[in-house]
């Protein structure tokens, strides 16, 4: 009961705030949402792995970077559009993720979780440097006309392409939610996440489930890598910051809370852009990300204590 009321109040406050911002500084809302879409759609696959396989994949951003390079090569070689190339690239990245799982992560599953963290740290170094050695640190970028698609409303002209990421994030959330709560295989994945021994006792193939989840998440991040090159330049270190950002967003949402990642991203995207819109607060836009994270986490821990 109380929970529901809180949620309603929250929604109301957010709606009012959104309307105010929309009329006062519409670009804050537009760019805030666009940033949020990108943050969320990169963080969600990581959240999936963390929630089920309990691994903080420090090579998450590197998987995306790898997929972006693959897309770049494919698009250059066959003249494809990334939106077409994303299908094969997602499949290949899924296979790559599965292979990484089989060869490394799986062997470390029985070790303490920290081992897996450092394992993925090693993987991230190896991948980044391998790409660096073969492609150099020089950046690459393909440019597509549709990326500059633009809308004019009165005085205001703004890019609309990046809303693609908002759509993708929403689709990911809905899709995963349906999968995890409505399908048996999804429930089995959750069960494995909570108690692998218990899961095997009821006939669930734990190893296969981990492998599948890892491949699924890798495929999703592979797709994001393909689309990432439409928006950004790529270079060996391009993925790194997104690993940290995703990790932060997941912590803000709470492990296992995938819709929460979207919520956290929107909160961050809009507040960042809000601060960036004013001369006096520009320098603080970066700090808001981290202050918000701490506030939300601390707030939740205090609330959790009380309940």
């Amino acid at each position: 009961m109380a929970k529901k009321r809180n949620a309603t109040i929250l929604v109301a406050v957010i709606t009012v705030a959104a309307v105010v911002i929309l009329f006062w500084r519409p670009t804050v809302l537009i760019y805030g949402l666009q940033a949020a879409g990108l943050y969320a759609s990169i963080a969600i696959p990581m959240g999936l792995i963390l929630g089920i396989v309990h691994i903080v994949n420090l090579a998450h951003g590197e998987f995306m970077m790898l997929a972006a390079y693959a897309t770049f090569m494919v698009c250059q070689a066959f003249g494809l559009d990334p939106f077409v190339a994303m299908v094969p690239v997602a499949l290949v990245t899924a296979a790559f993720g599965f292979m990484i799982y089989k060869l490394t992560i799986r062997q470390a599953l029985k070790s303490p979780e920290l081992n897996q963290l450092i394992l993925t740290f090693g993987i991230s170094i190896a991948i980044t440097q391998l790409i660096n050695l073969s492609f150099t640190s020089q950046t690459r970028k393909m440019s597509f006309d549709y990326v500059s698609a633009s809308v004019d409303i009165g005085e205001l002209s703004f890019g609309i392409y990046n809303f693609v990421f908002v759509v993708i994030a929403i689709l990911m959330v809905i899709g995963l939610r349906l999968y995890l709560t409505k399908t048996i295989s999804g429930k089995a994945a959750l069960a494995v996440g909570q108690n692998p021994k218990g899961a095997s006792i009821v006939g669930i193939d734990v190893d296969k489930t981990y492998g599948f989840v890892f491949a699924l998440a890798s495929g999703m991040i592979g797709m994001m890598g393909a689309l990432f090159i439409t928006r950004s330049s790529i270079f060996p270190g391009v993925g790194g910051p997104f690993t940290m950002k995703s990790f932060c967003l997941i912590a803000m949402a709470g492990v296992g809370n995938i819709p929460g990642i979207l919520g956290a991203s929107v909160l961050l995207g809009i507040s960042e852009n809000f601060l960036k819109a004013f001369r006096g607060t520009r320098g603080w836009a970066d700090i808001v990300f981290f202050v918000l994270i701490i506030t939300v986490i601390l707030g939740r821990s205090i609330k959790g204590k009380k309940a």
Partner: protein
């Protein structure tokens, strides 16, 4: 014979626990008794593939399952109520029960039917159908664990100390239920509550120090002086 264990040896790390166990279960209910640390749970772990046998064989319905991965053993038709329950704490009672059957060929087709059986046996689970299992009391969780195993409609049901933490009236009901079930399926049960469980079993083994000390019918055990002094005192 539904289950046939021969010369089974195993242990943990370097520690040998079982030193050549022979036991069998037909369409009947068989008890495993013995002091703490005798190796009862270890026998069950070896059957389920949770630990790998070092030596000896495990056959289920005529096929060797020794060393098979746990999920394959479960799918073949053996359901386990583990001593430590091993539930999915963050999922509802409903989901825990559903997963008991979902991956087992024998259980899946008659899921609805089995659910009815479980909810009748433990009405509290119907009341708490959507509660997260992790927030339930110790005894309630034991009921979920037993219910989850029943959902699988197994050919062999293994219960590792099922009465642990259950209130007396429910203990009685569980053993009544086992007494009915044993007509259709094989049951292997370990118990410290020997007096209660003797009512539900046909035969029993006493395990001590990783070997079978004696084997007898329920009646025989009830009259065995060693059993009386060690297991039936209270």
């Amino acid at each position: 014979m539904i289950l046939e264990v021969k010369k089974l040896e195993t242990g943990y790390g370097k520690l040998q626990v079982l030193r050549g166990i022979d036991l069998s279960v037909g369409k009947e209910s068989v008890g495993l008794f013995g002091p703490n640390g005798a190796g009862k749970t270890t026998i069950i772990n070896a059957i389920m593939g949770i630990v790998k046998p070092w030596a000896g064989t495990v056959e289920f319905e005529g096929k060797s399952i020794g060393g098979n991965p746990t999920h394959m053993v479960a799918r073949a038709g053996i359901a386990l109520v583990p001593q430590e329950r091993e539930l999915f704490p963050g999922m509802s009672v409903a989901d825990n029960l559903e997963l008991g059957a979902a991956y087992v060929p024998r259980g899946k087709p008659i899921m609805a039917q089995q659910l009815e059986v479980v909810l009748t046996l433990f009405p509290i689970l119907k009341e708490r159908y959507t509660q997260l299992v992790g927030t339930m009391s110790g005894g309630q969780q034991r009921m979920v664990a037993i219910g989850r195993a029943l959902m699988a409609n197994p050919a062999l049901l293994i219960l590792d100390e099922p009465s642990l933490g259950l209130q007396p009236s429910i203990v009685a009901e569980v053993f009544d239920r086992l007494a009915i079930l044993k007509k259709d399926i094989a049951i292997l049960v370990t118990e410290q509550n020997v007096r209660e469980s003797l009512k539900a079993i046909d035969r029993g083994y006493v395990i001590e120090n990783g070997v079978v000390l004696l084997e007898d019918t329920a009646k025989g055990l009830a009259n065995n002086p060693h059993v009386i002094s060690a297991y039936l005192g209270i």
